[in-house]
Symmetry: C2
Subunit: 140 residues, 2 copies
């Protein structure tokens, strides 16, 4: 999300607050994290039971592109840290919506594209996302 | 550690790299985290088995003071997130040394003080710290 600049940070902070309000401890990762070459998600959250890593994307348009490396980094970090990877999507005027990486449509060149209509149909809202993560943990 | 400015960030990065080299995924938290009033440690790390949160302190002197609120925040975050809380100490010319909060000497006013001689005697080096954390997890 860092390429979106200040706007990205603002929506990340909003999502971090939602985690705290839901009983999690959560933190953004530093923007300079990418300088270290370590694959970092935008947000890490845990509640003593489940651990989540989120790549957060927001847009004022009706389509969001995600580079394949961003998803790869999200999955690598999550596997190593011990967290469930998710993409958090926030279109202007919409609520946050969440999907696991494997449910995000790929483009022909291997990157990812999320349309507003798709996320309205397929995305989980925050409560579903938290609830679903608990189930995934149980059946893991 | 944020009050130490750039120097603090440099030693935090060093510690983050040590975690990655040891098979963990780790991230600093953003310095602006304190603006949100959420209690954040300096570093969060996980390896799919254990989760650690570290308040990192470095100094060119032979004594380090830690405010009681910093330890309180570390413990609050850790309890909520589901991580083991540790203080990481780095005196100039010395290796990183680690202690759980309850082993750090308190001053009369309820804050904390760590002397170089104390940490040389009582501190765990990085490998001991990781190994000890695994044991704590097992017996929890």
């Amino acid at each position: 999300m860092r390429s979106y600049g200040r706007k990205g940070t603002t929506s990340e902070r909003e999502l971090v607050k939602m985690f705290w309000d839901a009983g999690f401890a959560a933190s953004r990762t530093p923007a300079s994290g990418s300088a270290t070459k370590n694959p970092l998600p935008d947000i890490i959250a845990g509640n003593g039971d489940i651990y989540l890593s989120v790549e957060a994307k927001s847009s004022s348009k009706d389509r969001i592109y995600i580079k394949k490396d961003e998803i790869k980094n999200l999955e690598e970090f999550s596997e190593r840290f011990g967290a469930l990877p998710y993409v958090g999507i926030r279109f202007n005027g919409e609520k946050w919506a969440f999907l696991p990486p494997h449910k995000i449509p790929k483009t022909k060149d291997g990157n990812y594209r999320i349309d507003l209509s798709f996320i309205r149909r397929e995305g989980m809202d925050f409560d579903e996302f938290i609830g679903k993560s608990k189930q995934v943990k149980i059946f893991k």
